[in-house]
Symmetry: C2
Subunit: 258 residues, 2 copies
């Protein structure tokens, strides 16, 4: 493990209150691994021996049942994943695989559990991190159960717009079929959802999507902090109001949602 790699995660909320000694200890058995695109890191049901931290690339978390599969989240750096299974020493509920060439840091689950017990600040940080992920999932379920396909797409596009700095034309960061699965629909249906949104000024050209009439689009989408996380990760404002609306640990779980 090179220091330069460890330093990249030293700044995470998760390790914030930790002493250097303890950090060194916790990351003792860690190693950095490079994966090609479409590499499966973990199958659902597998025992979890590591906490994964995505440093470069893209990782998809997915679930399977009876030959059907669904994307539950798409991760971008820097994100931890499978933390809850690590905490409980349980089997994975989701499969993880790379969508592109990725660099992933793997920390020993057992070391982390030991560190949790030895370092109170770390245990608190873990609780906060998992709580943030939990709240992300609550939003996810609400999004899924309360909105139609076109509404989910509209909100996805508006969230993307905020994350990309408010540009008029956003760039879809993933293949459309992956996006469809994330949004809980088939690829064909995503196509039709885009067609539906053309009535609201959405113009698609490959991965480029122009949101030409934001006002009617927002009226359809009705984004809400109770269902959507519009904060650009790592771009949180420092004002008190913004902090309370989007606590840091909630931002650190940077999964894009369906």
């Amino acid at each position: 493990m090179r220091d330069v790699d460890l330093n990249r995660i030293r700044g995470l909320q998760l390790f914030a209150g930790m002493s250097d000694a303890r950090f060194t200890d916790a990351t003792g058995g860690a190693f950095l691994q490079n994966f090609p695109a479409n590499a499966t890191l973990l199958y659902e049901g597998d025992p979890v021996d590591f906490l994964y931290i995505l440093l470069e690339g893209t990782v998809e978390l997915q679930g399977t049942w009876k030959d059907k599969e669904s994307t539950l989240a798409i991760l971008r750096p820097i994100s931890t994943f499978i933390l809850a299974a690590v905490v409980l020493d349980a089997n994975a509920l989701m499969s993880a695989r790379t969508l592109e060439k990725s660099q992933i840091l793997m920390l020993s689950a057992e070391s982390l559990r030991r560190t949790m017990n030895e370092d109170p600040a770390f245990a608190v940080a873990v609780a906060q991190e998992v709580s943030g992920c939990y709240r992300g999932l609550v939003r996810s379920i609400k999004n899924q159960k309360l909105r139609s396909g076109a509404e989910r797409l509209a909100n996805y596009l508006l969230t993307l717009q905020v994350r990309q700095g408010g540009v008029e034309t956003v760039t879809l960061p993933h293949e459309k079929r992956t996006l469809a699965s994330l949004l809980g629909m088939t690829a064909e249906n995503l196509s039709r959802a885009f067609a539906t949104l053309s009535d609201y000024g959405v113009e698609v050209q490959g991965a480029e999507v122009k949101l030409a009439r934001p006002v009617p689009l927002r009226r359809l989408a009705a984004p809400s902090p109770l269902l959507d996380n519009h904060m650009p990760p790592g771009k949180g404002t420092t004002g008190k109001a913004a902090k309370e609306m989007w606590p840091p640990s909630e931002r650190s779980c940077s999964a894009e949602r369906g």
Copy 2:
């Protein structure tokens, strides 16, 4: 606060590793409250000042968007709720209301956060509890995205059967319209889903549901520990295999799912 009430929660995983002194401290600002049926405890978006612990009765957690609402979980004693918001000092993402007369213990969120910082074992227990809830939600999303309405109902019935001790005729613990919302469908559709399942030996008589042909029903439902939590709360076996399959904290989040 009477000791007899505090003793009821003293045995929870959440407070297991805690010293009596610290427990007394943490529950200092606590109070017990009785609510009638259909009382709203908390609206989504509200600041969260308490950790709620359901001692008697039934509580529904629900989400709302644009005049639509959906039941996210139904809680039975003894369950904590809104823990993640307490940990992060954030606003509630779900509304909570009683479905029947309920007795609820309310612990000061601020005291709990302070206790987390002072008592490492408690911080670990919180992390484990939230992790268990997180995994419950992962199962929930997979259930919702991967299964059809009839499949969700079939699995709900089979889970109910296990929880009620393997009886042939299970008793629905909630109104059908509430159940429908939990399962992510309309009340009308739940009726039709029951009709569909009659081909699989499901006979409905009010709240009594006879599962007359378990084998074909199970083939349709295809229950899986990766999507369902079949363990009866408080009835976990003590064998090693069972423990690894259903870690204690995962059981403590006794939300019934849709």
